[in-house]
């Protein structure tokens, strides 16, 4: 039993790693195709049919490029920076519930690496660790552009982290649980949190953009001012890690948005589908089929938000630094506090009222 369980866990971890990396790889392809579409170009179309092998070619290039560590740089921290960025990005996917459970031979396995009872707190913590990767890398390069980029990134990430945490607190007040699976299960069929938390959703998605250093908040790597920002001195696989970490973070934050606000693997009419499937294929196979449909729905929602990231990137111009700080501290944080107070009174006053009304 010990060994079977260990093997199951190992397989689940390998699958989730593979999926995350695959999605991150094809996000780079998607990004270039979306950019091409928006700018009326064709985009990558040489490697393979429709350019589908372009990400593999890029990865191959990353492996074969010469890599040098500047003589003035701090060697170990220079390597630790991108490794840390990649590590924190990979770790965050551990607690995301990708789907309900799969049954096989009397064993019920959740489509999730770890069912931690503090899931959302874990993600919040790991995401805030991500700033170390950028800060360490930028500082160790011993380059003025890198240092300025790293300080900008740190300052931006910590400013938006507060508003992000407060948006999450408003969700927790409604659900009363820190477990992501519990939060998703409470949004059964169409009862999604977005209907109760529209303001919180807007705050959260804005902060998610800022945390991933994506346009319009990509000031840490603002090429008109800072050459390449914190990764000016990086080349080869280490640069690849930074770029890859960004795409993994994009996917993770999209998955978290869909789990927190858009019901995760729940969709309207899921009960009807479930009874139909169990009726047609029997208890076990029907359950598994329903779970797979839910997982597909989850990935659909998450990939939509990945697309949304790209859409915004090619639509909005970059902020100026003082505008960025004003939006974070004077706009989003007061709004987030207001959102907490509104949610509190809503939970205490409106919810009993409506429950009484519905009875």
């Amino acid at each position: 039993m010990e060994l079977t369980e260990f093997i199951i866990k190992a397989i689940v971890i390998a699958v989730i790693f593979g999926l995350t990396l695959l999605i991150a790889m094809y996000s780079t392809y998607g990004e270039r195709k979306v950019a091409a579409f928006i700018q009326d170009r064709i985009g990558p179309n040489r490697a393979g049919p429709f350019g589908m092998l372009q990400p593999l070619a890029d990865a191959g290039k990353m492996f074969f490029k010469e890599d040098f560590i500047p003589a003035q740089a701090n060697k170990w921290l220079f390597i630790a920076g991108p490794a840390l960025a990649m590590l924190t990005a990979l770790m965050a996917s551990a607690v995301i519930p990708f789907g309900h459970t799969l049954r096989y031979d009397g064993v019920e396995v959740a489509v999730q690496a770890v069912e931690a009872n503090i899931g959302i707190l874990y993600i919040f913590g790991v995401v805030s660790l991500g700033v170390y990767g950028i800060m360490v890398g930028g500082w160790a390069s011993n380059n003025k552009f890198s240092l300025l980029g790293a300080i900008r990134a740190a300052s931006q990430n910590i400013s938006y982290e507060i508003a992000m945490g407060m948006a999450i607190v408003a969700i927790l007040m409604m659900t009363g649980s820190l477990s992501l699976r519990e939060i998703v299960d409470q949004q059964h069929s169409g009862n999604w949190n977005i209907w109760y938390q529209p303001l919180g959703f807007i705050i959260f998605i804005t902060c998610a953009f800022a945390e991933c250093n994506r346009t319009p908040f990509d000031l840490p790597e603002c090429e008109t001012e800072l050459v390449g920002g914190y990764h000016t001195e990086y080349s080869s696989m280490k640069l690849g890690f930074y770029l890859f970490a960004e795409y993994i973070n994009m996917f993770i934050s999209s998955a978290v948005i869909s789990a927190l606000y858009f019901g995760g693997y729940n969709y309207p009419g899921m009960d009807w589908v479930y009874t139909q499937l169990t009726g047609a294929f029997g208890e076990v196979a029907g359950h598994n089929a329903a779970t797979l449909i839910g997982t597909a729905v989850f990935f659909g929602k998450a990939l939509f938000f990945v697309f949304f990231y790209m859409w915004v990137r090619w639509t909005l111009p970059r902020f100026r630094y003082d505008q960025l700080m004003n939006l974070g501290w004077k706009g989003l944080i007061p709004l987030a506090i207001l959102n907490i107070i509104i949610t509190g009174t809503g939970v205490l006053f409106l919810e009993p009222y409506f429950t009484a009304l519905l009875k």
């Binding site: 866990k9 971890i13 790693f17 492996f63 074969f64 010469e66 890599d67 040098f68 560590i69 500047p70 003589a71 003035q72 740089a73 490794a83 990649m86 590590l87 990979l90 770790m91 551990a94 690496a113 770890v114 069912e115 931690a116 874990y122 500082w139 011993n142 380059n143 240092l147 300025l148 910590i158 400013s159 982290e161 507060i162 945490g165 407060m166 607190v169 927790l172 409604m174 009363g176 649980s177 820190l178 050459v227 000016t232 001195e233 696989m237 280490k238 890690f241 630094y321 003082d322 700080m325 501290w329 004077k330 007061p334 506090i337 907490i340 107070i341 509190g344 009174t345 939970v347 205490l348």
Partner: protein, 156 residues
């Protein structure tokens, strides 16, 4: 039996293995012939001057200080938010629990909002805005002349 955090540890180990494997593979595959120019610090093609210990805006430091205050507040808010709407506790106290928790947290957050308002009023949250300088040229030709020329040749 693996606990939740045991699995998370397994996950971290797998991530470390993956990252070191990719770095190690790249190290074996790539060419390595450094020279002095390649190893010098990039400074837009100039010879690098000194090292990177440059002065930067002190406001980054102030922002970090304010952040520490608010982050601690956030950590207090997390456990509060979980027990806030707890129906058992509300029923045991005849509905007083929720209002009591909300009022208590309003006082706590209120004090921090006062702090934010203080920092705001003192101008610690204001970033130095770049002020555009309009270039001024001492020219013997008066500006009105250009306007006259423009008027004269304006396409109707």
């Amino acid at each position: 039996m693996l606990s939740d955090f045991g699995t998370i540890f397994l996950f971290i180990l797998a991530a470390v293995a993956l990252v070191s494997m990719m770095l190690g593979m790249a190290r074996l595959l790539r060419p390595n012939n450094p020279n002095e120019e390649k190893l010098s610090t990039y400074e837009s093609g100039e010879e690098p001057l000194g090292n990177a210990n440059v002065q930067f805006n002190v406001r980054f430091y102030v922002v970090a200080l304010i952040f520490v205050l608010f982050d601690v507040e956030l950590i207090f808010l997390f456990p509060w938010a979980v027990v806030f709407g707890n129906e058992d506790l509300i029923q045991q106290t005849n509905g007083q629990w929720g209002w009591f928790a909300l009022a208590e947290m309003t006082v706590f957050v209120g004090i921090l909002v006062l702090g934010l308002a203080y920092a705001w009023a003192k101008g610690y949250l204001d970033w130095v805005r770049p002020e555009p300088k309009t270039p001024h040229v001492d020219s013997p030709v008066p500006t009105s002349l250009y306007q006259q020329v423009n008027e004269k040749y304006k396409k109707s």
